[in-house]
Symmetry: C3
């Protein structure tokens, strides 16, 4: 082969050492972030929210992916649609509130009016030559995975969303997302590149010393460990934990709850992973007392004792489905060094705050955990800025999923820009 000229990004991709964190520019460079927005966030399915965000006809929710503002609406037929939130006249932002309910979408500037199918149905003073039909809102691809909403900004979205939906759907369906409401939403700005937020989420090596609240309902052996570093006592416990999982999976699946691990984090374009894991203590929920936070259980569940189903998608989400509530996370880059972490807590749509659930009890574990993670992400961002930073090795026992995330990222970038 000829030694063809390559772009700096291609060179950077080639520099990545297997099993190691990324070269610093991937965490720092505005140019790399621009490429991330173009090739990762511009060409993959991006998790943005849930159907309960637009529960009724006329409901509108705005989601921003980088500089792209998207209006997700539920139309009069109950269908969820997505449009670019940009007027076709002089380009004003159409909807400014994050959530609203409308009959039609009316531009605040000169009142051009679009229906919920995106058609321009009214525009004053434009004269006889003007064609309304050429000035409808630009549509955006949107799909619902059992109530989880994913959008794709590409003209031709990855086709393996269908495969993810087919395999993940049965895991999620019993928790009936469409029958929930958003009890609380938290938006925090993490002081780091979005990939550091994702890396942080893809391991629990840091959980023991950093997450006193989160680790209450979790088994430490679930975080990974190095067998050769264990004593006999540890080894026996780890073995017991392995047996517990096998037993739980068999029981849950007998009850119709798919639970076994599926891991496609670096093997599919629309990458995902899932597994249902047992909880410690009362074993009901991600709460400080490990009991259910909401009296009204989700779906048709009779008991909350069904472990915690976790779902991870790439590039930008993770989700925990309990018997009584769901916590769902999306990560959206703001710039090379800041990312929006949006967390939603979903409960049964008929649950009443103060009666069926206490908001502080529902949210305290993950509000605390997010703050702790945000600080850790910030430390890595600060470190990456130093000229002395050098990619370090991932633990082969506790950071395998971090490695898979980075492998996926590097592979997807290489697919689009070459390597």
């Amino acid at each position: 082969m000829l030694d063809l000229p390559t772009t700096p990004l291609q060179q950077l991709l080639r520099q990545r050492l297997p099993g190691h964190s990324l070269p610093a520019p991937f965490y720092l460079s505005p140019e790399v972030l621009e490429a991330d927005m173009a090739h990762i966030f511009g060409k993959h399915w991006i998790y943005v929210g849930v159907e309960p965000d637009v529960a009724e006809a006329g409901d509108v929710a705005i989601f921003d992916i980088g500089k792209t503002s998207i209006a997700v609406v539920r139309d009069d037929d109950g269908e969820v649609r997505a449009f670019h939130n940009v007027c076709r006249h002089r380009g004003a932002r159409l909807v400014t509130d994050e959530k609203t309910t409308v009959g039609n979408l009316v531009c605040p500037y000169h009142s051009w009016t679009y229906n919920l199918a995106g058609d321009l149905i009214h525009a004053d003073h434009m004269g006889p030559g003007f064609k309304r039909s050429c000035h409808g809102l630009k549509p955006v691809h949107i799909r619902s995975l059992e109530g989880l909403l994913f959008v794709c900004l590409a003209d031709e979205p990855p086709v393996d969303f269908d495969e993810m939906a087919r395999r993940l759907g049965p895991y999620i369906a019993p928790h009936n997302v469409r029958n929930t409401k958003v009890a609380f939403q938290s938006d925090i700005i993490e002081p780091g590149n979005w990939k550091l937020t994702m890396e942080n989420n893809r391991e629990c090596y840091h959980c023991g010393t950093n997450h006193p609240e989160l680790t209450v309902p979790l088994f430490a052996y679930g975080f990974g460990f190095s067998p050769e570093e264990m004593d006999e006592f540890d080894r026996a416990n780890a073995e017991r934990y392995g047996c517990l999982i096998t037993k739980n999976h068999a029981e849950w699946e007998a009850e119709g709850l798919p639970s076994r691990e599926i891991d496609e984090l670096d093997t599919m374009v629309t990458a995902f992973r899932t597994e249902r894991l047992p909880l410690d203590g009362e074993g009901e929920s991600h709460t400080l007392d490990t009991k259910a936070a909401c009296k009204k259980l989700l779906g048709d569940f009779a008991s909350a004792k069904l472990g915690g189903l976790s779902v991870w998608t790439q590039p930008n989400s993770w989700h925990h489905f309990l018997g009584d509530h769901i916590v769902t996370f999306s990560v959206l880059p703001l710039d090379a060094e800041r990312s929006l972490l949006r967390t939603k807590w979903l409960v049964h749509k008929d649950a009443v705050e103060g009666v069926d659930y206490d908001l502080e009890n529902l949210t305290s574990v993950w509000l605390a955990t997010n703050d702790q993670d945000s600080e850790l992400v910030g430390l890595c961002q600060q470190g990456a800025r130093s000229p002395a930073y050098e990619p370090g090795p991932y633990s082969p026992n506790t950071e395998m999923l971090v490695d898979k995330f980075i492998n996926w990222y590097v592979g997807r970038m290489a697919e689009h820009v070459g390597r």
Copy 2:
């Protein structure tokens, strides 16, 4: 012709569709803003303020055009002069207050001292070889159009300022700007590119739904309309409005007040437009009750019932001359996405606040209108950031002046950078 290489800016200029808003980079790109500063704000006559800003000998007013700080002073002979506000020693900013009164201009750093003609008259410790005459302040071109101050940063300013002055002067002169004082100044930062602020000013398509205060004294038919969209009732009203204007113009001109439209918005380098228009209601002023805001009328006026004279200049100003007061606006880019809108309300220099005029009554219409426009400008700026933004069509009936402004802009840029 050969297909010569062009700069991206030249390509962008060629991309502009007639009758449409600009491609997004014109509203977003720091490089385009730099070119705007070099070729538009660096080579044309820029409206900055009024003679009453430097009413007395020794008065100094500082105006910043981009990174250029200009000291406008009235010298001891009553002449208005302008200098670069930069010390010739080690470059310290000479005058830091926006307005002040001085005998000489003394640098705060090492006390180099310049007289009001800009000559360096004192500099300590510089030794025998030092030539004071080589270190005077650098002058800036400045012209007064009946009291409106325009500066030009170019070595050779556009010569057609004289033509503008000759034709516009008689319209403005009766309002006697030199005999006014600045009753109030408002500086707001609009969250958009300066061209969006100008586009917003060049049409009233948005006024009906956005400016409840401003539209009180204005006739809706003055905003433009599409004849083919009107019913018989509308058509009759529009005709009556047309007759009213013809009649008013004849009357006012008989009284010595030039009133007929002149429009050179895309036909001159020093572009301008003017027209005197009737006011609704009491017809005296731009106030909420349409009555004069100041008891002391301007110039030699015996009555305030003389409509409103509007003057627009390019690149960056507009002005409304009433019988009792003047409102005058300048737009100055701060960066690609933020612009300073400076508004001054002028009244007779002998008018006394609280006696002859109430400041809130004087300023409320335009303070409210500016805030409304600022928000609209922000919506367009947000929209232009979206990759989904696409230049849209101007209304041929209500946005002709927007189109002329953009034509002028594109033409002026092409003149300097090629197309």
Copy 3:
């Protein structure tokens, strides 16, 4: 010679007029700042703090030079060491507090643990193939000049530090920095390029009109003057001042206090200057009443009447050693247009606040002076932004040291990037 292509920085260096301030990009351009960080702050000895900052074993002090964070520690043998403050695992910032005391350095993310020699002594879950010895902290060169700490980020630091230490050491040693404590530290962000902060420090042309507090204990004739501008009275006074210095130097040196000027500001890579100068009034200290601010004198001094020893180093420090206290300054660029000025006041380590010294009395002169200088630096920064800025002439009588600083800067840059 061939007319070889040069980089813009090389061109800029060639544009510098002898005896004049720098072309504007040296004060404004982020690219030049990057070159400054690489070639000046990355390859020279940078003053960062004092041994009393890490008085005891286990003490850690963090110093940031641009994007490089450095942990200075005193190890268990009492030796001062410096490391890059970046974990070798996934690059987290290791120490976040500016000052702390530790047994080992433990990473907050996954608890990798380094001893005070920088060795990685603990890392969980890394598996059998992992080599701890390859993952120690990266060291940074550090030297103590009689208690003043200088670091160098280059692999091979300039060797003439030794010469500076040999010649400056005897001046500083009598003030016994190691036996002091930091009574107060002030960090201010000056709104200007670091070179403007340095230029400001290298002359007292501006002191008379700007520093009412600082000039109390200083003789005006020490600021420099133009002989040909003086009258007979001035000339006589200046002569008396010259005699006073000669007499003082002789007396002080007889007492074992080296005092005579050494000036290597543009003649060495590790550039410095020093001189001991008499003080006016009571002549004891840099205070408003010119008396000692601290009852416990430094070193073995029996009296505070020993003038003020000043030390200047390049690129970034100056220091005033009095009989009773020391004031020491470092300048660190934050970006092209902002610089950190850090000032420390040192007193005898056994001195007790409120008993031996009053903090306000100790710090008031230089706190006021720093604020005054910061404002002046800001004026020059604002001036340099104007396209009308043009390098101006330094006074041959009062700005010789400014010229030497700039000569050194230009020479050092040219050495590394060519000219």
